[in-house]
């Protein structure tokens, strides 16, 4: 069996974010890393693969044939990767992204696709279910636990007030929440081995997809700033100021 882990490569989130003044798109330059959220998806895929003697492939869409973040997933233990890179994909929305990812998944012959619930830079949170809908597979979303057993995938799915247990026969798409597993650190051997693992670079033409985007940014403005109040250093009696503040707003 083959499992695909979807991986987004994003700018290091420790670096300040900015919008390009002309395109109004997020500037995605500089060093790219694996989205931290996706390291959970990769780990969850590897755990299933190890139990079932299956293989994990990574699928990623990225600018400039970026592979640095994908190499991290390979170093963790994924066997191969597909990276779709095309200048026409600049400004791709979630639906176009999902079309690209779904088409790449079809090439792998995978029966299970694992993704994070949302990226750390965009937070759209729709791509996994869009990929599922495009493939015609059930979308088991927001899983905080996942198990695969005899062709059935079972998850504990996050709900507004708790969780529900959901299952489906494969093929299926599962999105996992951060914290669902503990991502492994790549070993030195893994890092060295990742350099020789196959990474297939594809363009939109290879997948037969047109770069159609259905949405546009019409404007950006500064939000009404919330004025900062009083900040003081605790001298051992901060609790008195807090109590006085709570009394002032009639909470106490």
């Amino acid at each position: 069996m083959k499992i695909v882990a979807l991986v987004k490569q994003i700018p290091d989130q420790a670096a300040p974010q900015a919008l390009d003044p002309d395109s109004l798109r997020l500037v995605r330059a500089g060093k790219m890393i694996i989205d931290d959220s996706d390291s959970y998806g990769v780990e969850a895929s590897l755990q299933v693969a190890e139990k079932l003697a299956a293989e994990v492939s990574v699928v990623s869409m990225a600018p400039n044939q970026e592979t640095a973040g994908v190499r991290t997933a390979l170093a963790m233990g994924a066997a191969s990767a597909i990276v779709v890179s095309d200048d026409q994909l600049a400004g791709a929305d979630a639906l176009l992204t999902a079309r690209v990812l779904a088409a790449a998944v079809v090439r792998t012959g995978a029966e299970l696709v694992v993704a994070a619930t949302e990226s750390t830079d965009g937070y759209t949170g729709t791509v996994p279910a869009q990929v599922a809908a495009l493939l015609g597979w059930p979308a088991l979303t927001f899983a905080k636990e996942m198990q695969v057993d005899g062709g059935t995938v079972r998850i504990k799915r996050q709900t507004e007030d708790g969780f529900e247990e959901v299952e489906a026969e494969l093929p299926a798409v599962v999105s996992v929440t951060a914290g669902s597993v503990v991502p492994r650190y790549p070993s030195f051997k893994g890092i060295m081995g990742a350099k020789n693992k196959p990474v297939e670079l594809l363009t939109l033409g290879d997948l037969g997809i047109a770069a159609e985007v259905g949405e546009r940014v019409t404007g950006v403005r500064d939000a009404e700033a919330r004025a900062a109040g009083e900040v003081f250093e605790d001298d051992g009696s901060a609790e008195e100021r807090i109590v006085a503040f709570l009394e002032g707003i009639k909470v106490l």
Binding site: A94, T126, F163, A228, E233
Partner: protein
Amino acid sequence: MAGSVWIICETQGESLAPLALELAAAARRIGGPVVAVGCGGAFSRAAAELGAHGVATLVEVGGCEGHLQGGLIAAAVVEAISQLGTPVAILAGQTYTGRDALAHLSVLLSAPVLGSAVNVSVDGDTVVAENVIFGGERVVSSAVEAGKVALIGVRAKSFSPDPVAEPISPAVVTVTASPDAPAYRSRVVSSRSEEHAGPKLDEAAVVVAGGRGLGAQENYAAVEELSGLLGGAPGASRAIVDAGWVPYAYQVGQTGKTVKPDVYIAIGISGATQHMVGMKGSKAIIAINKDPEAPIFRIADLGVVGDAQKILPRLIEAIKRRR
């Protein structure tokens, strides 16, 4: 704006989720008539309540029981469109099921999703959705290309419920998703609540939230004690939810709950972008953090630079002494 606006309504137990009435208010900003889509008996029984908030038609989705609702609702909406015509916009909550429904609709209707909207408006014949980025510092307006349905994910508490002067008695249409909808292949086996006792996190007048600065999982008990003393609800940053200290149901932020209490007390929370989006609408904010540069201080009404693990027990004692 001419053309109907549809809202996808979720239920909580036996009642309508509060977000449903917020969506009805948002829909009326765009135009009307408003069509509400939902699953199950609790939705059907809310017809009068929805009518009082301007909903003209209820689309009841049959056969939801035992399956994930997002995909089924989306497939049923496609059936309903063939009977009622194409809407200009479909709104859903930026919730787990809401996002699932919008994602499936996006593929079925070949239209983009404008997510995390905090406002909607109409510009000529275009529906515009606003969302905030960079922890709430900038507001981005987005629109869909002409001829496409605007699929909009609306953040909770972005709109206030707005009853109409003359309540409507809604027409009711029942639809069922096409039998080949992949969502039928998902089976919901069981469901469990993980909520704490006391007021709900997103409805409480006081929220006391803890983060990494608490140092260790066992220190979270003090957050719960303080929130109990203040009659509030305990919350958490994504960092400590990811670390497994508390369940997801406690999480405040972009991924978790949006809260707007009278006072939000952030203890050992630095104020990551993803957290601030979920709480910056609080009436008052108190922050305790040992890093004077923590972003949370930029929005706090009262900021204490200090060790949360030391201040929290003293604060609890001070409040107990007052009683």
